[in-house]
Symmetry: C2
């Protein structure tokens, strides 16, 4: 809570109640919610919060590098609350998205793609979590 206020301030964003609630939700959750899931969750506390405020706040956080919007779900972007590089695994049974640590996979050959300047990449895997 205090951390969230400090985080917003350090990003140069006035810590309004709405922004605190949004930031607290996405950083505590540790999942990959859509903007509408954030809206629904924050509405439980702030019943009048508008869609525009959620999108404004998410864009502001993204501009400051605290979150990223990622195209990992059909129909809607998801919010990735981890700014550091990592890979993603989409569980097609549950729809859940799992973070795979950067060092768990090694990609060779990127620097040989001489036609392009590449400033970011990730592996996107599809599969299913093993039971038991």
């Amino acid at each position: 809570m205090q951390d969230t206020v400090a985080l917003l301030r350090s990003a140069g964003l006035t810590p309004t109640p709405q922004r605190i609630a949004i930031a607290r939700y996405i950083f505590d959750l540790g999942d990959h919610p859509t903007a509408d899931e954030v809206l629904a969750a924050v509405r439980r506390e702030h019943s009048t919060i508008s869609r525009a405020t959620v999108y404004n706040t998410l864009h502001a956080l993204a501009d400051k590098g605290l979150v990223r919007s990622r195209m990992l779900r059909e129909g809607a972007a998801v919010i990735d609350a981890r700014p550091e590089a990592h890979h993603h695994l989409i569980d097609e049974a549950s729809g859940k998205i799992f973070d795979i640590p950067w060092d768990a996979l090694k990609v060779a050959g990127v620097s040989e793609l001489n036609d392009f300047d590449i400033w970011e990449y990730q592996v996107v895997l599809r599969g299913r979590k093993r039971q038991g």
Copy 2:
């Protein structure tokens, strides 16, 4: 053209004029169009073609494994006319999506992700095509 008719037939799809136009467009283009771009292009020949027909045809082609829908552009899925595994590079200057051959990159560590059964993965790169 004849190839397209044969392709549709071999997939078990009646080669109607609309389906031929759609299939010809996406396979000749070799790019990654959105459904609405396909609709707009095919409308030049078939002015009354409806959105539903385009989506129906794209879904049918996807069911037969001839195309894939991929989440590589903000706001809309793109159609990938290459069924074989490959990677993708998004040119953030032009918005273009380039196919990277499967063998150009090597990903190590996938089989060590023991908590998951993984049946597909790809590297998604972001960067810019070098000039000259």
